[in-house]
């Protein structure tokens, strides 16, 4: 019971209150902003961000300055791979999922090995990986067509499936439940918090620190890959660097949701609220005609502000 109260505490309540407030502001600025169909659209976009942020969340929880800057690159790459493997055919969906998830896992695995066994700081490792993936995207794009989403996938992402909500939102809810269970009711989850909170103590208590950290990066790659598949379902076809827009917001969503960048503290429920809040904010910015560069500036400033408010208790390098 206390744990339930704890998880509901401040950051999530703050996020939910802000979402509500932003919806009212949006509705005032542009009537129809908070209409059911519009909210549904916002939820789909939030789910895409939320799925990327799930992996980001796990990596950050694992501590030792864990962060995954390569998620955007994985989303883009996954969207291209999915598009080409499906090529507009429903029959290609299983292969697309398999190919994308394997690619994401492999990229995450390399990140994890670099961070643990080769002791490269996560920031540097994943930034380097992002550079590699961006180069790879340019090469691929010159050779093969970007492909098209299968109708089944587009339907899954955009059309109502159950209780009027599309499949992707149910997928997001499932991921939320899965992570809540993983973090609070499994040994693996407890170990994630342990290495994030006190790596040395965790090692002395027999936690396989390196293996767990590698697996967190691999999971981050998998979640980004899933988001990439869903993204091509949403947009129909992949275009250059579609995933780029996810790097910064995925971190903001995690921090906004109350997860400490120092690791070992937080959870995914807050991150889901953070993703919704950011999506609504993005919607408002679009409505008032602030372009992509303006949005980037606002997002960057938001992250810095959040660090000021939430980061004060514990220094990030502690």
């Amino acid at each position: 019971m206390t744990r339930l109260v704890d998880t509901l505490k401040t950051p999530i309540i703050v996020a939910l209150a802000l979402i509500f407030l932003l919806l009212i502001v949006g509705e005032m600025l542009s009537p129809g902003f908070a209409s059911p169909t519009q909210i549904m659209r916002l939820l789909i976009v939030a789910a895409l961000l939320g799925i990327v942020a799930a992996g980001q969340n796990l990596v950050i929880l694992g501590g030792r300055e864990g962060i995954d800057l390569s998620v955007g690159g994985v989303v883009s790459l996954s969207a291209i791979i999915a598009g080409n493997l499906m090529n507009g055919q429903d029959a290609g969906i299983p292969l697309a999922i398999l190919g994308c998830v394997a690619t994401g896992a492999l990229i995450g695995l390399i990140n994890g090995v670099g961070v643990t066994l080769m002791r490269i700081p996560p920031l540097v490792m994943t930034l380097g990986m992002l550079g590699v993936l961006q180069g790879l995207l340019v090469v691929i794009r010159q050779g093969i067509p970007s492909g098209r989403a299968a109708p089944g996938l587009s339907q899954f992402v955009t059309q109502p499936f159950l209780l009027g909500l599309p499949g992707i939102i149910w997928l997001w809810v499932l991921i939320g439940l899965f992570l809540a269970f993983l973090l609070s009711r499994t040994v693996y989850g407890h170990r994630i918090y342990a290495i994030g909170s006190n790596e040395q103590a965790a090692r002395m208590a027999g936690v396989p620190v390196a293996a767990i950290r590698i697996s967190l990066f691999a999971l981050s790659g998998v979640f980004a890959a899933i988001a990439g598949i869903c993204l091509i379902g949403y947009s129909g076809s992949s275009f250059a660097n579609v995933g780029e827009q996810y790097m910064l917001p995925s971190i903001i969503a995690v921090v906004f949701g109350g997860t400490s960048l120092a690791g070992g503290k937080g959870g995914y429920t807050g991150t889901m609220a953070g993703a919704m809040m950011l999506t609504v904010l993005q919607g408002i910015l679009t409505t008032v005609n602030i372009d992509e560069s303006g949005r980037q500036m606002i997002f960057g400033a938001t992250l810095l502000l959040l660090m000021l408010f939430y980061g004060r208790g514990k220094a990030m390098r502690a």
Partner: protein, 497 residues
């Protein structure tokens, strides 16, 4: 008239009294040795003289005039220089910069490099021929060996040219030739009329360099004698004080005769060499001696958290190679560190999660069901009389003693074969200590083999069936039965290794 006279100074940190009555009379032109066991108040006394700790009570007279040390700068101005046990060097700066760091020669707003090199060279020259390979004025301190760094620290202290020099264990890392040279320098300084305070744990050094010796015990000055009028036995006797009756201490000795649980043969590694001993089931083996003589290093290495270079270990007759805590836990070892903040507590997480990690590993669990874990953890936590309101509360809500109990409780759900206790009661309250040792004895009575290192000699003497005294990374004496006295422990700990 005494150069420096300290009378009746005291210092308490909260409820802990570090120094209850410190007296010291230091004459110009003498080397005055301070000696006392761990926690007797030597370092606090030195810090008061150096101005880094302000006394609660008492008087300090310098050349007969009362002075208040309002900080390190003030005592420096009064002509007091101190060598710190915990080295105070800037790692990325050069040897010569470090030597001159407390008083950099300036030319306008810039450091005067030429004067700096010249001044440093004078002090480096004092140790000509014993500084060893790789030592040069422009080498950065971080590439130097431990003994070389200690030399730099000594040079830095000498460069203060203070009339009162305090050396807090300056020779711990030095080799014979370096110590000899240092003593020659001290003798010359003495002849120049400087007053020198010298702290060392080596009887041979004390007798070769000292003029006077002041003994401290339990935070109070016991007495001062001329070195020429005393001997090592008498000094140890002053350090020990009234020896409690042996019968009271020997009560635990049940002469454990179970099978051998842990056997080490010629084990060497970082900080210890050629260690060999056996612990039987039901036995509490104590590791004694001064702090940092390899006791901790051996325990950590056994648990796979420190380096082993050679030697053999067997656990209940089966060969065991320590390399990783995970493997150690699976093999049946348990390790409790005195540094619970670093090695034990998973801060910010619920109490329950701090009790369960070993249980997860030993049983290869995948799921963590709170209800069943609480059932398992309850007896473990109750065995230590841990006070807490709910398993769901964060561990940080507990007192230090109760946090350590939780850390120990994690080893009690699935019992280990051998329990390694590495100064487990450091910084915890008396009642928690009592609960802990009551449990340790129960565990031993139930057949667990226990290896205990404690920096508190009383704790070690009253809880060990047998004591191995460590000195310089080796076992130098074994105390069994009625030999387990404070006198014997100190004598073995303070003799030259």
């Amino acid at each position: 008239m005494a150069k420096l006279k300290i009378s009746g100074v005291s210092k308490a940190y909260g409820a802990t009294v570090a120094l209850s009555r410190g007296d010291l009379e230091l004459q110009a032109g003498e080397v005055h040795v301070l000696i006392g066991s761990n926690g007797s108040g030597k370092s606090t006394l030195c810090k008061i003289v150096a101005g880094s700790v302000r006394p609660d009570k008492g008087e300090v007279l310098l050349d007969g005039k009362p002075v208040t040390m309002s900080g390190p700068r003030a005592s420096k101005a009064l002509g007091i220089g101190i060598f710190y046990q915990e080295l105070s060097l800037a790692a990325r700066r050069t040897v010569e910069e470090n030597i001159c760091l407390p008083d950099l020669p300036m030319k306008g707003p810039f450091v005067d490099r030429k004067t700096l090199s010249e001044r440093a060279a004078r002090y480096i020259a004092l140790f000509d021929g014993v500084t060893g390979e790789g030592f040069s004025p422009d080498a950065t301190v971080d590439i130097l060996r431990a003994d070389q760094r200690q030399l730099v620290e000594i040079m830095k202290t000498l460069a203060s040219e203070a009339s009162i020099l305090i050396f807090d264990e300056p020779t711990s890392a030095l080799d014979r030739a370096q110590v000899d040279r240092f003593f020659q320098i001290l003798t010359r300084l003495k002849q120049e009329g400087r007053a020198i305070v010298f702290i060392s744990h080596r009887m041979d050094e004390i007798f070769s360099i000292g003029d006077q010796v002041t003994v401290l015990r339990d935070g109070a000055t016991i007495g001062t004698s001329r070195i020429a009028d005393t001997n090592a036995q008498e000094i140890v006797r002053m350090m020990v004080g009234e020896e409690p009756a042996i019968a009271a201490q020997a009560q635990t000795s049940s002469a454990a005769s179970g099978p051998v649980a842990l056997r080490l043969a010629n084990l060497s590694g970082a900080g210890f060499s050629d260690i060999g001993f056996e612990v039987r089931q039901g036995e509490i083996l104590g590791l004694g001696g001064l702090h940092g003589q390899g006791q901790s290093s051996v325990l950590r290495a056994l648990f796979g958290a420190g380096a082993v270079t050679s030697g053999d270990v067997s656990l209940e007759g089966a060969s065991y190679r320590p390399h990783d805590p995970r493997a150690a836990i699976r093999a049946g070892l348990a390790y409790v560190s005195g540094d619970r903040g670093r090695d034990g507590v998973i801060q910010g997480r619920p109490i329950l999660e701090n009790v369960t990690p070993i249980h997860f590993l030993r049983n290869r669990l995948r799921l963590a069901s709170p209800a069943s874990l609480k059932r398992k953890a309850t007896p473990a936590v109750e065995a230590l009389k841990t006070k807490f309101a709910s398993f769901a509360h964060p561990i940080g809500s507990l007192s230090g003693g109760n946090q350590q109990k939780i850390v120990i409780a994690r080893w009690l759900i699935d019992r280990p074969k051998v329990l390694l206790l590495d100064d487990p009661t450091k910084g915890i309250d008396l009642s928690a200590k009592a609960d802990l040792f009551a449990l340790v004895r129960t565990l031993a009575a139930e057949g667990m083999a226990i290896v205990l290192y404690s920096s508190e000699d009383a704790e070690l003497l009253s809880n060990s069936d047998r004591i191995l005294v460590f000195n310089g990374g080796r076992i130098t004496r074994e105390l069994t039965g009625a030999e387990r006295t404070r006198f014997n422990l100190y004598e073995a700990a303070y003799e030259a290794a």
